[in-house]
Symmetry: C2
Subunit: 712 residues, 2 copies
């Protein structure tokens, strides 16, 4: 899919409306009206078997009659007739069609059959389709409007909106128009029989008028492709998405903590993070943040100065900033001295700066200049209700030149409604994001910080360990038919061999079939030892008393052998017991869980967090896409308590954090090398879970104490 | 403080403006103009030494000259003259004054001195004050407007707004006017030299036009009084507060996990929960939720039906609802059957109900009636962008009678801006809350559910155990001078005796001064035993190796004694070591932390959560005010993983949950009985921490394994 092959949608020489109507209550009339009145400079043609005149133009009876130039068809006729219309377009040489008609897949199986037929015909003629069931697309700069919604459309702007929901497009167009929120382009994707959200990204990003891509997504059609493409685009232009369907049912068939916790949402979050796509929390947040991303330079860090003419709004802003992970900048002495020269003695010179209700427009601009000069300030939020003795507009006019003269982002909260209209208009014209309440301005600043981080994430390349042995794993997987259990688990030895092939140290152990053998093995390994039941049917061994620790001599090992086997037998009479593993007791250390699972959309997903038996209760875990970049591995540690405490906490000595990062990267590489798309000829590695991974003090490395690998 | 004594503020017979000015650029002019034009029916008088005429009325030179009736003075003159003006009011017999002037405590020490003088004079004459530095107050129903802000004020409504920030009042008045958001009363509290937020609650709640009290709070002046009063009021009318200053510095001097985690925010959250005061997350959320609380009946539960004409908005709504803890109702078969009769075949009859873009106003109202009739539905969100073939207003008109005819709450999301104005006006006039985006409507429904819960919390009475022995604790505390350590910790024996007096079982132990004594005690107690260093200077014993577990014979106890003392000595050379405690090893069980700390504003604050050494890292804790109600104790367990797993989890058997609740209630009673306000004559109990509290299987009870009590 190249941008070129899609240019007919966004820059057509001529547009043909199939289903144009001269009856004003019909959508076909409204569509023709919008296109005609949109200011579109290319040719506009109408087709309707009834013929006639519309807006002074002839209505052609057939597509064949329509003269050149025409390279985009907009189809708005009943579903059963659409395939024929697309065929006529194909014959006529048109290679792009937007289908507005509904009555397809969204209404059931009959509609789905019609949709399949439309797609078949389009494929036959090499026609690209947007829709069906699309509300249309518009470009405010070209301009062009192929929607049938009540005019006028939104004002020209810098944010493109791409949506899986036509209804939300309709609402956004009306809302944007009312709010004075400019858009560059809008695309309603409809049923995506051909072009999907991912196909549309590149052509929209190539639009010079679009500075930010704002997406309403109900999912993505091809996760791997989306991540790959989005990663490239975000290096140039920000993408921010409202991904809905968070709570959609989507339980996987899983057998591990990792699998149970790796919901669809975890996968999307990990994918967006890898791709550098920002995630909006709410509909309003999507547009609030998109505007800041379009208009503001990026901050170097998260230290914000708040400049206000009143205490209350300052405190509200500080709360909102801190709750989003931003911090209030600490001014240096020079800044306070400079502020004291322009502000009255009662003003608060600490952050938030309260300039008092008497603050004049000059005091606003002088103070803004001063805090922007402070090297400890990365961004500024100005926040004010209309000052009692000045107008909000005068303040706006005073600060605009200062904002235009800095490389740091400045957002403005102008509180109120009627008294601030002039200020709002000045700020918008100057491309300075303005909000009514400090919480929303804070979210916009947080999006700018997130964008800085997203660039680092999207720009990083996965770490590739060159001492891994996929060939060894491949032969283990190829031979696994006879050694895996019925539900796909690799045998203990195979699982350890797989880890070994990827350089992840695991605990050596020997399988004893009776108590004497266990005692003999223990003598060889050296005391103290651990006994662990060997059964592919027991997923969580400690749950059923299948693990015994710290056995100091041969007698204890003998007794332990029969205790363990008896306990497991009484708990799981049906379980096949292969014997008992004898294992050296490893030195004390912190314990974490690391795991990997294959996501149907995004392939390997790696998990890190607090392990043990309560993983699913504590939910102190983080996910990332495989293979891992160094920055992502670090972020997984920083976002969990299990990871933060590796640096040491109270009586816990600092642990070998580096070895944990190394293990995560190796595990991710394993998951990526044997995913559904990469593991050709051998079974894929569906789940890996190391629980616990014992982390020894610095320099001591890590040891996988227990591991389970499911293949399939 | 009675409502009666404050009636002059809210229903004065006559109002006097001291500082009225005939110069239109002065605030004293604007104030006079607002009051004159507000429609106020009582007498209005002006005072200014310059005299003259204003709005056809004479300006009196002195307060003394002003005729009857006058019972409220509004003062807007420079700060240094205010005390004299208040004195003149006192002499004239005026007992209520609102001081709009600034230049007092907010500008520094000189201002504070002026403010103290004003208060002294007011006290002398029995005058109640609002302010100084207040923007004024207004009542849209009486009506009266004593602000100096640009007219017109807000439209009459059902929500009263009480604010610590005058700037936010000014912004809210302008915003409310622009948004068509009605208010009943508004009070700017200013510096609160006399009347505070708490004093104002009852008179506002007594206003028949006020259905909901919305507060902007930067703190409360007297926490105990606020909780007591608010608890009474919320049983009648909802209070919702935006409490800011969440991240204000406020580290306590603490020596326990409980103290470290019990920040000011935990205290406010606990206090609001006890009082049944709802907490808004954002400024917009405050007003969004207040309107729903004013207009909607309360739901019986959290099961929401979503009714929409499009898929996308339905999914967005479902996400927002679930993320707030609400659930999508599962319809019964009858509901689906009835819906299938009024909707086309392609409509989705599951929740969210997608009636399709073609949905008519009648289909909206019929479907609404059907889902309201389902016993599994507690509330409904209607959500629609303007339907292509109908107007948004027609839909609004169709659903209004259905909403008026149900006892279940219904909120409406009308998406868009210009095309929906008629719908918005109809809905507002019908007192049906409407929002532009589903996330905000979802938050409003969540507030209704929270209100139902808040009523239960506010209505519950604390549990009082009658087998507790405060007399015993009192004598321990009275005698504690010689037994407590320098930093206020009770001796081990005293601490255990305090728990015993309140019926909390703790682990018996004996203090051994040498290894032989320890071995002998252990023999008497029975093996296995635990050794634990006895030192008031070591807050967290396991951090320094001060605890040894599972010692099986006398020899192990002897070695253990010297190991433990040596380790502690090398870690804390300066620590006073009294010896080593010998303790029976208790049966296995789950372990939790319970603690209590005194809050300067709200007295006893009880904590429950995941214990051990990582309490502060995991932060799996909940707080509540002491003494505890049964419902609060239950909520503490339900809101933490430590509490939820008491019901059993995987290999963890169900634990004695009832004994934990009992312990929490007893601990809270202890904290309440010996708080700063209740412990007269003896030191207060500043901190109690039981970590761990071992919870045995059901019927086994609990045992405080380690406890520390700090007094002072």
């Amino acid at each position: 899919m190249t941008i070129d092959s899609l240019s007919h949608f966004f820059n057509p020489q001529g547009v043909l409306i199939i289903g144009a109507s001269s009856n004003p209550i019909k959508l076909g009339y409204r569509l023709a009206r919008n296109l005609t009145q949109s200011g579109y400079q290319g040719a506009v043609y109408f087709v309707n078997p009834k013929g006639g005149l519309l807006f002074g133009q002839p209505i052609y009876s057939t597509v064949a009659e329509v003269p050149d130039p025409v390279d985009l068809a907009v189809v708005l006729i009943p579903a059963p007739f659409v395939a024929d219309a697309i065929r006529a377009c194909g014959v006529r040489g048109i290679r792009a069609a937007m289908i507005g008609s509904g009555g397809f897949r969204e209404v059931g199986t009959e509609g789905a059959a019609l949709e399949d037929e439309v797609y078949r015909v389009a494929q036959q003629y090499g026609i690209h389709l947007i829709g069906p069931n699309s509300i249309g697309l518009l470009d405010t700069h070209l301009p062009i409007d192929t929607t049938f919604l009540p005019p006028p459309g939104p004002t020209p702007g810098d944010v493109a909106f791409i949506s899986h929901s036509g209804a939300i497009c309709a609402a956004v167009i009306d809302w944007a128009r009312g709010q004075g929120y400019g858009l560059s382009r809008l695309v309603s994707l409809g049923n995506q029989v051909d072009l999907s959200e991912t196909d549309i990204l590149a052509p929209i990003a190539a639009d010079p008028h679009t500075r930010v891509l704002a997406l309403y997504l109900e999912g993505v059609k091809d996760g791997r492709h989306f991540v790959k493409l989005a990663r490239q685009i975000v290096l140039d232009k920000p993408i921010i998405a409202l991904k809905v369907g968070r709570f959609a049912a989507g339980q996987r068939a899983v057998a591990s903590h990792t699998g149970a916790l790796a919901g669809i949402e975890s996968a999307y979050n990990a994918a967006f993070r890898r791709a550098g796509v920002l995630r909006a929390e709410t509909s309003e947040g999507l547009f609030d943040c998109a505007r800041a991303l379009a208009w503001c330079p990026l901050p170097q860090g998260c230290r914000v100065a708040v400049l206000t003419n009143a205490g209350g709004p300052g405190v509200t802003a500080a709360d909102a900033l801190e709750s989003l992970g931003l911090t209030l900048a600490e001014f240096d002495g020079e800044t306070r001295a400079a502020l004291s020269e322009v502000l009255p003695p009662a003003a608060s010179l600490n952050n938030p700066v309260d300039m008092l209700a008497s603050a004049s427009p000059e005091q606003f601009s002088d103070s803004l200049r001063i805090v922007l000069d402070d090297p400890n300030v990365d961004s500024v939020m100005i926040i004010y209700p209309t000052p009692p003795m000045f107008t909000a507009g005068a303040v706006a006019k005073a600060v605009i030149p200062v904002v235009h003269n800095t490389t740091k982002p400045v957002v403005v909260t102008v509180m109120g409604e009627r008294l601030i209209q002039e200020a709002v208009e000045h700020l918008r014209a100057a491309r300075i994001p303005e909000y009514r309440f400090p919480e929303r301005a804070a979210a916009a600043l947080a999006a700018l910080v997130a964008r800085t981080e997203a660039l680092a994430f999207a720009g990083a390349e996965p770490v590739e360990m060159d001492d891994v042995r996929p060939d060894v794993v491949r032969s283990i997987l190829a031979a696994s038919g006879h050694s895996q259990s019925s539900d796909g688990f690799l045998s203990f030895d195979d699982a350890h061999a797989v880890l070994g092939a990827y350089g992840i140290p695991s605990l050596k152990m020997q399988l004893a079939h009776n108590a004497d053998q266990a005692a003999a093995y223990a003598q060889g390994i050296g005391f103290p030892v651990v006994l662990k039941i060997a059964s592919p049917d027991i997923p969580h061994k400690s749950d059923v008393g299948g693990i015994l620790l710290n056995l100091g001599d041969q007698a204890a090992v003998r007794t332990g052998f029969s205790d363990v086997t008896q306990r497991v037998r009484s708990a799981h009479a049906e379980a096949a017991i292969q014997g008992v593993y004898v294992q050296r007791m490893v030195p004390a250390g912190q314990e974490v869980i690391v795991g990997a699972v294959q996501d149907p959309q995004f392939d390997g997903l790696v998990m890190f967090g607090s392990g043990g038996t309560e993983v699913e209760g504590l939910k102190d875990v983080a996910f990332a896409l495989a293979p891992l970049t160094q920055i992502e591995a670090e972020a997984m540690l920083e976002s969990t308590w299990a990871g933060r405490k590796l640096k040491g906490f109270r009586n816990l000595p600092p642990a070998d954090r580096g070895a944990v990062l190394d293990t995560l990267i190796r595990l991710a590489q394993l998951a990526a090398d044997f995913s559904s798309t990469s593991s050709t000829g051998v079974p894929q590695i569906k789940e890996v879970e190391i629980n616990p991974l014992r982390v020894l003090p610095i320099g001591g490395g890590v040891i996988a104490v227990d591991v389970r690998i499911r293949i399939g």
